[in-house]
Amino acid sequence: MSTQTKEAIKEKSMIIQKDMLARQFHELSITKETGKKVVYTFVPGNLTELILSFDMLPVYPEINALQSGMRKKSASYIKEAEKMGFSEDVCTYVKCDIGMMLNGNIGPTGEKLPPPDLLLLSYTGCFTFMKWFENLEHLYPGVPVAMLHTPYQEDGRITPDQVEYMVKQLKEDVIPKMEKVSGKKFDEERLAKMMVNSAKAEDLLVRILASAKHRPSPIDAYFAGVYYIGPIFTAFRGTEEAVEYYTELYDEVMERVRLGLGPVTPEGEMKEEKFRLVVEGPPNWTNFREFWKIFYDAGAVIVASSYTKVGGVYDLGFRHDSTEPLESLAKYCMGCYTNMNLPQRVDLLAGYVKDFKADGFLINSIKSCNSFSAGQLMIMREIEHRMEVPVGFIESDLVDPRYFSYANIKNRLESYFQMLGQRKIIMEQETEKIF
């Protein structure tokens, strides 16, 4: 997840991140020369350290899709996929990704992406992923597919049986296939070493996101948060580079806390924090800047979000563990946000409203994302009743620009911000009355 337009104001860490991603995509573009093998896989419940331990390179189709959305390329890719027969209602990440492949598979940086050597279907909480890879299997005939099934946390907990079940799949299917594709033996010690780095970066990320408990919050944990999670949710978890990036980011954030500064927006530092919000659901990527601007113009800062937990809910305590590498990969996959059951999600979000002292709770419901949208109205009602904060509901899409209606979203958000503003005034008056 790199930064987008040149005129945006960036923190130093964002520049580091942009370089990291540029190097990654460049490395992908020269695999023919280097002979490195390529694994297509997904962000939620990814096995990055395992892939890297075989010296293979991961490609995340949904990251490419969101990048295409930010770079205004998704509309034409989606059109390509629809011409092939994909319906209007199919996940737009899928259509964007397939459209991109049909258009020559040119990645976000303009360099060509290599075809996969292995399709690693490790997924959590989203069943569309399965259909997505069935399509990729047709597009890349003959490429081996490894499937890692992640049991859903229906009972709200991860059981030893489930861990065992996943480790068994890793040992019996995923690792042998990786060995075959890469031509290398599985090196558990190397994997364990990477996990030491993973845990360090995870620790830092947790502290970075927790900094939003300060007033003013030094970060926006949704719009800027999507940049912060970039390296750890994608190709860099387990690397030294990721630890360096998060150390730099952590220092930057702590400096902002020390100086009492608000978050950095594309138009500079946010001066006044008027509203603190918890947001559920992914952001819209096609109009990301416009969308963000509606918030920072109103002085609304997102102090916590569920989207920044899709690649791991580290604040609940999970860390990759070098003493049990395969078991911790299994636990990691099962612990991702969209693999949690709805009561767990409500508890998590209610906890954010309380701990981050949020003024309101907002849902961005995504038209084409079933894994997020299912249950959102229930979540909203629960939070409203349990936490007694005003709740808001807006609708957009991931990367289909046809479903981002600026006027409608702005109208709803304006109403929502006014609701929050009015409430603050009345509540203050009521408090005065009591005394």
Binding site: L377, M380, R381, E384, P390, V391, G392, F393, E395, S405, N408, N411, R412, E414, S415, Q418, M419, G421, Q422, R423, I425, I426, Q429, E430
Partner: protein
């Protein structure tokens, strides 16, 4: 000096204005159709509200006298109606100028120009007295009373009487003239128009037939009888009071703009409020027990949950599809070639409700034709259409959290009796008999009322005092 507060709700179909006093009492209401020029629509609504406020102040002043002399009330009501006619006349002249202009530019040769102008003159001659009569004798009834609607209807009627070849040129001239005519703001002189109105009334009462009986018709009631021989005396005794209300300067201490077009209102930014908040606040003010508000307006439907302070806690709105809001009904009325106000009463006559898909306004029109072909009765189809709207609203309400006691229904559609019937039925079916359903005759003004109430409260609450300038209305 009395302080007044203004709320303007610039909706997608109609623009509403409400003026309240320091006790939150509505003293003036104004409504007009929203048009291309939003500022003009807002100004017309506001001016109407100011005129209406003068008349309501007059009635309030004379409360005791009116109670003792019911014919005074009749006189004042008639006066307001004729006053509206005087405004109408000025607008009609402006429209005439536009028609003349269009005629001259549109028809190149003089002979056609003259011919068309001749037709336009006869059309005007034919409908003007009819409209005058309607105003004077309160015959406009439930019909839409906006200038555009009244003249369009009459113009159409007259054009249809002419030979077919004239239809197209005359309608083209009309289409090209009505918009510029209604998009200009006309400043009226209240004193001048009220004097003219009083003179018109003299004529009216002088020409009343001698034998009138009670209850024979709405036009010849007991109050009218009293006025017959008495009007000079009545107008003389009211004269001073009328002069007084003419003199009142309306100091609008603060104002709030709301509705879809709020961003385009010529109001300072801090005087703009979301219509969601305003509708909820207005509904809660009239019915303080309100916890759930359903607002069905021209182009959107909103389900709003409020707390005991009238503050919104959550809301859902349809902004993807017009099916289920006022325009749906408007479209159906057009398809059936009946007026919007006739729809509800006709639907009430339904013996059953034909199932209609409510997902799309345009396709509902196609479905309507198909059902008519299949022999379904118009009334039953309309019953189904009204129920379909409410089914959609119920789904929106469910999304917002359901119905909590008390439930208040607002918006222009709340005037439709069939909508009320199905809404009450479905609310009770889904949420039980104990839900109290509130519908106020001023339901269409709830947004503007909420706005005016915000304007009154904000003085002490939110707005920096230096920022706000007292706005004085100089509109007669």
């Amino acid at each position: 000096m009395n302080k007044y507060y203004l709320g303007v709700d610039l909706g997608s179909t109609t623009s509403k204005a409400v003026i309240i006093n320091e006790e939150d009492e509505i003293i003036g209401r104004g409504i007009t159709n929203t048009r291309a020029n939003y500022a003009v629509a807002a100004d017309i609504a506001r001016d109407e509200a100011v005129y209406n406020a003068r008349f309501s102040i007059l009635k309030k002043k004379l409360e005791k006298e009116i109670a003792a002399n019911p014919h005074y009330k009749k006189y004042i009501n008639d006066l307001e109606s004729v006053f509206q006619y005087e405004q109408f006349k000025v607008r009609l002249d402006k429209l005439g100028e536009e028609l003349l202009k269009t005629c001259k530019t549109f028809f190149k040769d003089e002979a056609t120009q003259e011919k068309m102008l001749g037709h336009l003159r006869s059309i005007r001659k034919a409908f003007k007295p009819v409209i005058k009569h309607d105003y004077l004798y309160n015959n406009l009834g439930a019909k839409n009373q906006f200038f555009r609607d009244i003249v369009s209807e009459k113009y159409n009627e007259e054009v249809n009487k002419l030979e077919l070849s004239l239809f197209e040129p005359l309608m083209t001239v009309w289409d090209k003239s009505i918009s510029p005519a209604e998009n200009q703001l006309i400043t009226f002189d209240f004193r001048e128009l009220i004097n003219k109105a009083m003179n018109e009334l003299k004529e009216k009462y002088k020409n009343l037939p001698d034998t009138v009986t009670d209850n024979s018709s709405v036009n010849f009631d007991a109050e009218m009888n009293l006025l017959k021989g008495n009007f000079d005396h009545v107008s003389e005794s009211l004269r001073t009071h009328i002069d007084e209300i003419t003199e009142i300067e309306f100091n609008i201490t603060n104002m709030t703009g709301t509705g879809y077009g709020r961003a385009l209102l010529p109001f300072p930014e801090d005087c703009i409020r979301s219509e969601i908040l305003c509708h909820a606040f207005g509904a809660h003010a009239i019915f303080p027990g309100t916890r759930t508000v359903l607002d069905i307006g021209g182009q959107d439907t909103k389900a709003i949950q409020v707390d005991k302070y009238g503050l919104v806690t959550s809301f859902q709105m349809n902004d993807r599809c017009a099916a289920g809001c006022g325009r749906y009904l408007g479209y159906i009325a057009d398809e059936m070639s009946i007026s919007l106000n006739e729809l509800g009463p006709m639907a009430l006559k339904a013996e059953k409700e034909v199932t209609i898909c409510s997902t799309c306004t345009v396709f509902a029109g196609a479905e309507l034709r198909e059902l008519t072909n299949l022999g379904e009765k118009k009334e039953d189809i309309l019953g189904g259409l009204h129920k379909a709207i409410i089914m959609r609203a119920m789904s929106l309400i469910a999304r917002s959290g359901g119905v909590f006691n008390e439930f208040t229904f607002t918006g222009g559609v709340a005037r439709n009796p069939a909508v009320i019937k199905y809404l009450s039925q479905l609310v009770k079916e889904n949420y039980g008999d104990k839900i109290k359903i509130n519908i106020h005759p001023d339901s269409i003004f709830m947004g503007a009322l909420g706005g005016a109430m915000f304007a009154r409260r904000n003085l002490n609450m939110e707005l920096p005092s230096g920022k706000k300038e007292t706005a004085v209305m100089n509109n007669g």
